[in-house]
């Protein structure tokens, strides 16, 4: 398969801050590629450089054979960008916004009108198309924000955390629309810090942390890197897990990366079933009530944990 996007040793610095630290990857025509990483990993910066908004500090990327350093206009015609933050005119209606942005992408006349109507239909806002954006709910605004990026039928679309801060229902709708766009032939670069989203959508995933691409491949390739590790998740009451318990868990044979959050403690281990009985014994000894215990096959979260020693979300 052809690569629509090839990134070579891309670096972007903001003054002394290295936001993107020499990453390389490629995206094949027709795939959904996710960049998965925690806050501040460099996802938005990567998209900004690839979409020719910011000039790279070093390195280059080719999109459809054009260089982001030299052929910005050709690239801009080919790509669609859905920014992480809403980028709409609040005092214009959804229809006016779509008309305006469509005309910026060289659509005009009848063609523009048809596309605007199609997009309104697609994002389910035909009824409210003439209301000002500022009267919309957050989820509706997000839908318009996405619709704007689709007007000119881009070959490659960059979606930067499009589901942040919205309700479950809108999120579901957005994930489904990503899949249907992809089914229509659009190549997608999707960034997220939700492991589940990357898992559900992507053909391939790049894991990014502190500006470095620390892992790259299909989901099974990535989980293979972790080896046969599994995760044992202990659900406990908030105050029922004293430090001592965690410290004792860490020194159990076979326990790696013990991570504690409010209600759960996760233990990375090569053999979850062998670790189970010492864990239960320990909790009995310390008189700690376990609400439930899960055994999880390795997932992207495990991969991230394995590679960085930290959880994807804090």
């Amino acid at each position: 398969m052809n690569s629509i996007l090839e990134v070579h040793e891309l670096v972007k610095k903001y003054g002394a801050t290295v936001a993107v630290n020499g990453i390389s990857f490629d995206i094949k025509e027709g795939e959904i590629f996710s960049l998965l990483g925690p806050n501040g990993a460099g996802k938005t910066t990567t998209i900004s450089v690839l979409s020719t908004l910011l000039a790279p500090t070093a390195g280059d990327a080719m999109i459809g054979g054009f260089s982001i350093r030299k052929d910005q206009l050709a690239i801009r015609r080919m790509i669609g960008v859905i920014p992480q933050e809403l980028a709409l005119y609040d005092d214009l209606s959804a229809r006016e916004n779509l008309y305006f942005w469509g005309s910026m992408y060289d659509l005009r006349g009848k063609q523009l009108k048809t596309r605007v109507d199609e997009i309104l239909e697609q994002i389910g806002l035909t009824d409210k198309a003439n209301q000002k954006i500022k009267s919309y709910s957050g989820g509706m605004k997000r839908r318009v924000n996405i619709g704007v990026g689709l007007l000119h039928r881009p070959r490659l679309i960059f979606m930067d955390e499009p589901t942040v801060g919205i309700d479950a229902q809108s999120r579901r709708a957005i994930l489904d629309s990503v899949k249907s766009l992809n089914a229509q032939g659009m190549t997608v670069l999707y960034t997220t810090h939700y492991m589940e989203e990357a898992q559900e959508l992507s053909d391939r995933v790049g894991i990014i942390d502190h500006g470095d691409l620390i892992a790259l491949g299909t989901q099974s390739e990535l989980t293979m890197q972790v080896g046969e590790r599994e995760t044992l998740v202990l659900h406990v009451g908030e105050l029922d897990a004293p430090e001592e318990f965690v410290e004792r868990l860490k020194i159990l044979p076979g326990a790696e990366h013990v991570q504690r959050t409010d209600h759960e403690i996760s233990i990375n281990t090569p053999k979850a079933d062998e670790l189970l009985s010492p864990v239960v014994a320990l909790s009995n000894e310390l008189n700690i009530k376990l609400k439930s215990v899960d055994m999880q096959a390795p997932d992207l979260e495990t991969v991230f944990l394995h590679l960085t020693g930290r959880a994807l979300r804090d």
Binding site: S51, T52, L53, L73, R76, V81, P83, E85, S103, V148
Partner: protein
Amino acid sequence: MNKILGIGWKEVKLAFRDRAGLILMLLAPMLLTLGLGLVTGSFNRSSSPVSGIPVVLVNLDRAQIGNAIVDTFASAELKDLMDPMLVSDAASARKMVDDDKAAAALIIPVGFTDSIIPNTSTGATGPLEQIELYANPTRTTSASVVKTILEGFLGQVEVGRISAETSVAALIDQGLIQPGDAAQLGAQIGMQQGVGLTANPAIALEQSTTSGSAAGFNALAYMAPGMALMFLMYTVSYGGRSILYEKQHGTLPRLMVAPLTTSQILGGKILGVYLTGVIQMLILIGASAVLFDLNWGNPLSILLVVLSAVFAAVGWGSLIVAFAKTPSQVANIGSAMMLTFGILGGSFFSVESMPGWYTILSRITPNAWGISSFSTLAAGGTLLDILPAVFALLAMGGVLFIISVVVIRRRGLFQE
């Protein structure tokens, strides 16, 4: 080009949908014109926007009417408005105007009284004599005031002579024509443009340096252009703010990743602010013409002044954007500039009465050039009279744009 227009039009739509913006763009200047106009116009001449106008009088007539004109200009009623100086010969009076020491010179020729008042024994009047009004072309407003007062006075004389057939000299001697009345009448005449000496064929004025005719002095007529130009500065800084606002709100980055060049975006933004300013000015001019019954003068020339004044103002707006970093900085600098330029440029009181350095400094403001052009036009001036100001405004805008573009390029408005 289509996209530049698209961005420009979007800008105009947004500007006219912003309610707070509309208040400042349209309502505030109208209310201030009315408020300040009423205050200065009806209460007290001393707080009039024009005061202490230096005028040189040469009384070669030395008879009743000539003396009465001199008395009028020196009268207590006109004390604050006029600052008359008497000289004995016409040449030195003209020189004072040429040297910008006076707004106008009034030269009352020998035999002026005789040409109007019939000789008591023969009943015949002498040959027609004309008063010469030698006006300072850089002080059109003041010269217009002088002219209006003179016309008012002469109008009284004429009325007295024709209708009552009594000796005007007697009227003046008996105090029936008060110098103050003449001034009052002058102001009234100013409001109804064009009523002037055309009605008094026997008395003619000769104007040496400017071609402005009927004077248009009244407070509203002075305030309306002043306020319009001052709030034009608000509009251009609002426009400047919008570019930084768009940067913060992500629409500018979004434009940057659309197939557009930086110049197209910048061009569209500037066009939008420019159109907004032009529309604002035209609305204000139209509304004040209708509501306050003001005559602004020749519409095409007015349009030319508007187009060039807005150009210069947008130049200042883009300079602010070039140096400011945040929308609130632009707003602050913009408000400061609006007020400074308003005061400096003569939006509140005429800069003609200020010291020379002030007048010179006022020329950096679009307000000063705009106000002088508008008052020239209102006084009946022609396209030719305002061309220098138009060129000055265009040059001002051009220079400011070049500076702004250089600074924006260097600072990189769009790159982080």
